[in-house]
Symmetry: C2
Subunit: 276 residues, 2 copies
């Protein structure tokens, strides 16, 4: 199943178009992703689509202008330096006993197609395409092999960083990731039943600037795999439905005013943003 | 004015007791701190208390068991290594061109008196008493000297960290700060009109373990003062009402099962937590 946000709500893909949840009996009031990503609720939604779709008109959802997929109050965790290529970019060793991490505020989310603003306090901003996991179940201390049981689906992430700042000192990472417009997530959530482990190992993730692919890899090149990441971030802490975990980037593109930067997770979603 | 959270809502101090906001006409539905901290709204509240209090019974609020002051979805920013004493504790140089920073998830908040749980993935957890600023106004790019215009008030913070983890690599800081039960904020918000600059420079902040003061200092010893901190965190990013900025600690206490740890900001508030 595929979900996206349109102005004012959530839509679910069906056939050649989309159904808006407010059209579906039993789902009229759902506007938050957190309220629909639990396994039971997703199954109810699939059943409702199956039962009710013959009576409903499909609508168009412009994914290139879709709203940020993620609820404003969701936690957005991320893994740093998870692909060897990107760690080499930064001339920095990867942390030895676990992945680097960050948490960013929901206030920096933008919808697909919106401008990225470059803050004045940094001279070198990078954009990174990534695969994102969306948590579907309140969970804590998840065992690595059980990761699929708590994840609703996957999506695309474009993750901006004030790179000159973090090169100076990694203690600046939270600040360097939290500027307004520094995160885009979406436009589509693809539920996990559509992507088996083999598909996830081989899905191509790319960072593209002005049409040129700057970096590209598959999760097979991750140091820390998806199961490890879910175990790591849920260890000792409660993850709530709608939480996102950004799983690291194959490589970063330096962005400047006038550029257009794109994150692609093939078959999952594309995010494109002009830089102001 | 002084505000605290009791089960189910917010209370405002009056005379020798407290008035619960649901008792006050015009404030019955206010349960979120974010909905009451704007300057105008605080003035309306003060006027309502003035007008209506003679007809209302004061109630008791047990501050030692008060709920977490902060809304679950508020951003919780923090400054690292802001007092020389604590940077020396960690045998680490203070970042040169700005304060270290962190953001933590609201899910790690506990109410006053609740147990701190020590996660299994760390062998050395510290607790740090701090002064916290609570943002009252949606703001961005605040100039240092204007910081008072966007801050609603101050409070007490107890900030836990998996210190062995961050000693290994500062890229682990977000993870090391985000465990369940790792943050306590409250029990009282003291509005800024009650504390002038001189009072704020001289307010004593202490970390106490099992009755022994482990560290104590005043904000006069901060490397980055309150105005700087507000300017720094609002630069290029929108801060919303209810956001907290934790301003750094005079010193950290290592905590172990059976300990009781206390954060005191004199005249503002005391937080006490047993360690499980």
């Amino acid at each position: 199943m595929r979900l996206a946000k349109f102005a004012g709500g959530i839509a679910v893909a069906h056939g050649d178009g989309w159904l808006r949840l407010p059209q579906l009996s039993g789902f009229q009031s759902v506007t938050r992703l957190a309220d629909i990503v639990a396994t039971d609720r997703l199954r109810e939604l699939a059943e409702a689509v199956e039962r009710q779709s013959t009576d409903l008109d499909l609508v168009a959802v412009d994914l290139d202008a879709a709203g940020a997929l993620i609820d404003r109050d969701a936690d957005i965790w991320g893994v740093g330096l998870n692909y060897a290529g990107h760690a080499n970019d930064l001339s920095t060793p990867r942390p030895a006993s676990g992945p680097g991490s960050y948490l960013r505020p929901g206030g920096c989310l933008i919808g697909n197609g919106e401008h990225i603003e470059l803050p004045t306090r940094t001279q070198r901003v990078t954009a990174e395409g990534e695969l994102g996991l969306i948590i579907g179940t309140t969970c804590k201390n998840v065992v690595r092999d059980d990761w699929r049981s708590v994840v609703a689906g996957v999506t695309t992430v474009l993750d901006m960083t004030a790179e000159d700042v973090i090169r100076e000192n990694p203690r600046y990472i939270p600040w360097a990731k939290g500027f307004d417009t520094f995160c885009s997530i979406g436009p589509v959530l693809v539920t996990l039943d559509e992507v088996d482990d083999e598909a996830l190992r081989s899905v191509r993730i790319s960072t593209i600037r002005n049409g040129e692919t700057i970096a590209s890899a598959t999760p097979a090149a991750m140091k820390y795999d998806l199961g490890y990441i879910v175990e790591y971030f849920s260890a000792g802490r409660t993850l709530r439905p709608g939480t996102v975990i950004c799983t690291g980037t194959p490589g970063a593109a330096v962005i400047n005013p006038g550029d257009t930067v794109t994150a692609v997770v093939e078959g999952i979603g594309t995010l494109t943003h002009p830089v102001k």
